[in-house]
Amino acid sequence: MAAVPAVLNSEWTKIRTVSSTIWTLIAAFVVTVAMGAALSALLNSQFDDLPAAERATFDPTYVGFSGMVLGQLAMVVFGVLVVGTEYSSGMIRTSLAAVPQRGSLLFSKIAVAGVLALLVGLATSFVTFFLSQALLGDHRTGIGSENVLRAVFGGGLYMGLIAVFSMGVATMLRSSMLSLGILMPFFFLVSGILSAVPGAKTVARYFPDQAGSKIMQVVPDAMNSNPAPYGPWGGLGIMALWVIAALAGGYLVLKKRDA
């Protein structure tokens, strides 16, 4: 039985020795920070032009995390590639021939990649927060304010969970292309559009990204966003359920199907 520490060690070697890891994680960091900073600076200069409802629920923390909309896509790519390249290259057969215990292989891989994504997510989240607050001028908030630390910490969790969710989906679909083709438009377009359509709104608020992003709001229903029947931790819980479902699905597919 290949021991779990050995598999973890091997998965870490696999992850750090391909350049796609570095590039996708750097992209996630840079895009989130830069876009959050830019929007913070913009809103700072145009604060007085905002509609009254948005001014009333102005949430400096949430504004800082605006870059997450794009940054999460890089995390999706990271998660998909970590799993998907094993299938596209055929490496999965070599890996499984060395680790016949498929559960150990899958969960070690996801643990290593997930922890890495979480760490990068937390770094991104804190850097984003401090930079965007600096740019928000008079409208800023501080890390010590009520619920702010929870939101900043939650931003890191959110990024990590998005990556792990993508890994689960890629394991189910067994293909990078297919997974990206489904996840990218979903997170970038479908989820956003549906949450604006009156009828679909009630369903869309249970999508993983819609539910999970509530953790980054300090002011409830900040910036005039959709009111949700769950709180920030409830939202993250819904997202975690999605992640668990994706992982369970991926595990079953890997377990049952021929490699």
Partner: protein, 388 residues
Amino acid sequence: MIEAVGLTKRYGAKTAVENLSFQVRPGAVTGFLGPNGSGKSTTMRMMLGLDRPTSGHVTIGGHPFRSLPNAPRQVGALLDAKAVHGGRSARNHLLSLAQLAGIPTARVDEVLGVVGLREVAKQRSKGFSLGMGQRLGIAAALLGDPRVLLFDEPVNGLDPEGIHWVRNLMRQLAAEGRTVFVSSHLMSEMALTADHLIVIGRGRLLSDMSVRDFISANSADFARVRVASEPPEQREKLTAALTEAGGRVMPEPDGALRVTELPLPRISELAHASDVRLWELSPHQASLEEAYMRMTQGAVDYRSTADAKEGLQPPPPAYGPLPDLAEYVPEPPEVPQRGWYVPPPPGREPSRAPAAPVAPAASVAPAAPVARAASVAPADRETSEESR
């Protein structure tokens, strides 16, 4: 020791492997032969627990692969040379595999040396040729110093030096008492490498015997007899005489006779006694390749058809009937040579078909009857594999 018992794998309606039972013993190289699509790779994937058999089972050292303790230290496998992340260097690829089984890093550099990849160890495997990929795959198989080794088509894409190296490596691994199981679709390669042969076709076991037995069972000697074409009844006359003397006579497509169970001098005497002139009397040995082809004939899935090149070729020149290609061996023509020539027709050896300048077809056609006689040359090109 690998043991398959009633191994069966179905994909929907298609049966890839059907009721396969065999044993692979340690201390020998066992060749696993079959045409493309006969189920070799599927069988090997089932051995490695990658595919689940529909019924039956296969064990390695008494355990199903999935329950082997520390599998990489017991079984090494090369399944697909390209099953490597192209962005990772050869060394890092092996390192990640070594870490799985707690194999020290020094061993990685060791196997890189063994397979001759030390100089490109830091390069991304994306740029590797097929031969280098095979070497990397072999390195991965050797990594854990396993007692059981599986190789799926290990010589694909290797240069002659590499093929020679793989052959020696397999024999050496077997000599060390390991179980070595090698698949191939080349009988000639296996005849040189393997001690034991398992032949499958359409997923069924066709033969399971030692190479020595396979050779003696399948490479019967025969004589090739060609009778003078005039008068035409000579051939029947000789056939009758030979059959009466206890020989077995089979006509060959080009009009010659294939005679077994009679020594050459006896055939000559019988021909002389029945007043038949011979144009050819030559000893032959059916090659293993031929025996293998015969065995798998009914089990070949992908067979090519003649390429008629409909509408792609200019109409043949209008001079008389073209010489029969099967019989046609061009003579050096008297006309002055042109600066270019066609290669010999496929299936012919260059030595038997001297470079034929493309003379005007008219000058070749009259030479054809002479060409017929030219093929009465002793030809033993079919003997090959027994010289191992």
